[in-house]
């Protein structure tokens, strides 16, 4: 379970370019729920995700994962509970390391790293099996540098890596945005499959309203650093993109003019 209470983050506080990215954002996600997050540029989506992962310290508020207060924990300590796939396919993997080394690194996420061999023969079988489920032929390329893979392939491996080690929360930060439509579709289906298999509490930020409604079981919309819309269950099942837009306008009482929201 993820509980965020009154999160506040202000960039460049006290200067003319002060930005109040999160303004007392509160959200509770029960264990195993798959939530999609939408919002226009600057709504605070990425800031929120970075706050949960620990990349950005919060000015005020509290973040709990399964009852444990992680608000002050650095990223690497939080990694035991939080797995993450970045928007940039280059960011989620180490291009200088081989596929198996990347996966071995992820295998020990949150565990103590000692002086045992990083890549053991016994691990390779597991890596191969998982890579084979992608259907990309990567199971035969374990010792290739991951920098040789395409963006889509790297993103797919990142997803596998996120699920290698049991964690509590999976954060997906527009992880299909940098891919071509076909690859994006592939990665999205892979995401749905992995989330279903691992029953991870998942938060997926997306720019596409279509995508936000198609996957997951709950959709929230952020605006000016707060949750302004939260739909799930029956209400969400019957919704289409125009409905979502209409609801947003009603909630905010203002005309939505941001093109970014209409994309997709």
């Amino acid at each position: 379970m993820l509980r965020a209470q009154d999160l506040t983050i202000t960039f460049n506080a006290g200067t003319p370019i002060e930005t109040r990215a999160l303004r007392g954002l509160s959200l509770e996600i029960p264990s195993g729920q798959f939530v999609t997050v939408i919002g226009s540029n600057g709504a605070g989506k990425s800031t929120f995700l970075n706050a949960v992962s620990g990349d950005l310290p919060v000015d005020a508020g509290r973040i709990e994962i399964d009852g444990a207060d992680v608000t002050r924990e650095p990223v690497w300590r939080r990694a035991e509970r939080v797995a993450r796939v970045f928007q940039d396919p280059m960011a989620g993997t180490c291009e200088d390391l081989t596929i198996e080394e990347n996966m071995a690194l992820a295998q020990l996420r949150g565990a103590r790293r000692g002086f045992g061999r990083a890549v053991k023969a016994s691990m390779r079988e597991g890596f191969r099996e998982r890579l084979a489920t992608l259907g990309l032929g990567l199971e035969n390329r374990l010792t290739d540098r991951i920098g040789l893979l395409s963006g889509g392939q790297r993103q797919a491996v990142s997803l596998l890596m996120a699920a290698l080690q049991p964690s509590r929360i999976l954060l997906l930060d527009e992880h299909t945005a940098a891919l071509d439509p076909r690859t994006a579709d592939f990665v999205l289906r892979l995401t749905a499959r992995i989330v279903a298999e691992t029953k991870l509490t998942t938060m997926m930020v997306t720019h596409s309203m279509r995508q936000a409604l198609d996957v997951g079981e709950r959709t929230i919309m952020l605006h000016q650093g707060q949750v302004v819309l939260d739909v799930a269950g029956e209400q969400r099942r019957g919704m289409d993109v125009p409905d979502l837009l209409a609801m947003f306008e009603r909630v905010r009482g203002e005309q939505l003019s941001d093109d970014a929201l209409l994309l997709g």
Binding site: S53, W76, A79, A91, E101, V119
Partner: protein
């Protein structure tokens, strides 16, 4: 070039291959441009020479010198990680600080080791002359260090260290304490340099305050030369490459200085180094350009 100067070049090349391995860790694996090396090399020499001339056995003195190098690297890493001083600047601060520290340790600008025992005089078998025995002993040391380093970099901790330099954000997301890894890597790197300094002082008959000048350039030259003669992404080969690079580089220097027709003298060493490094840096680029033209 005589056999004598050939063996001498091999000897110095082997010593500097330890520096090159250290530079490989900082510059290549951690991507931390570390100039501490210019201070930690004479630090190793100063500690070893001072302790040996004070009566300590050479092996303990060499271990102490290695530890001193590690501490120096640790402080540079700490300046960068904890105090958030830019990496290059942190290492420069440490480098100039070490100049004073080294003078303090030695109490004078140089400590000779002419009659004192060294690890080489102790290990040298009676039937071998010293200029053959020294390179042989160094080969054993360098091979042992290389194998240990290869082993370490293949461990879970070693992999985490490599990930830290390659993609710190990803490493943190995988639960790697990247700050700690930088500290450990810098300590390891400068420990090797300290060891090199200690061995250098024992082969050259003493430590001198100016023995560190240009160490980083020589280390980098070895790494670059090694990478151009044996380009490989495999770490086992990369460590071998920089060792070969250090030796080959030293041979070129000896060749340049020993060829009377060029007319170079010992004081031209740093100039020759700079020119050689420039050539080593430019050749791969020229090669790419030529190959690119052929391909187009």
């Amino acid at each position: 070039m005589s056999l004598f100067s050939l063996l001498g070049a091999l000897e110095i090349g082997l010593v500097f291959s330890l520096v090159a391995l250290g530079v490989l860790i900082s510059f290549r694996l951690l991507r931390f441009p570390d100039l501490t090396v210019d201070g930690s090399f004479p630090l190793g020499g100063a500690v070893a020479a001072t302790l040996i001339s004070g009566g300590m056995d050479p092996f303990s003195a060499t271990v102490a010198a290695t530890a001193a190098g590690a501490v120096a690297g640790l402080i540079t890493g700490w300046l960068n990680v904890r105090l958030r001083i830019m990496d290059l600047l942190a290492s420069i601060l440490m480098m100039i600080a070490l100049y004073s520290v080294n003078l303090r340790i030695m109490g004078k600008p140089n400590v000779p080791l002419i009659t004192d025992p060294t690890v080489f005089t102790i290990l040298q078998p009676g039937w071998l002359s010293d200029y053959v025995a020294r390179p042989l002993i160094l080969v054993v040391v360098v091979v042992a260090v290389k194998l240990l380093l290869d082993w370490f970099l293949a461990t879970q901790t070693g992999l985490a260290m490599r990930a830290t330099g390659s993609n710190g954000r990803m490493a943190r997301a995988q639960g790697v304490n990247t700050g700690g890894m930088v500290l450990a890597g810098m300590a390891l790197s400068n420990a090797l340099v300290g060891l090199a300094g200690a061995l250098f002082a024992q082969t050259q008959g003493g430590a001198d305050i100016s023995m560190g000048i240009g160490t980083i350039v020589i280390g980098l030259a070895a790494v670059i030369v090694g990478e151009s003669i044996l380009p490989s992404r495999k770490l086992v080969l990369a460590t071998l490459a920089v060792i070969l690079g250090a030796i080959v580089y030293r041979f070129f220097i000896a060749l340049a200085l020993n060829s009377d027709f060029i007319g170079l003298q010992a004081q031209d060493l740093n100039l020759v180094t700079a020119v050689l490094v420039t050539i080593a840096l430019v050749i791969p680029m020229m090669k790419r350009r030529l190959l690119g033209k052929k391909g187009a």
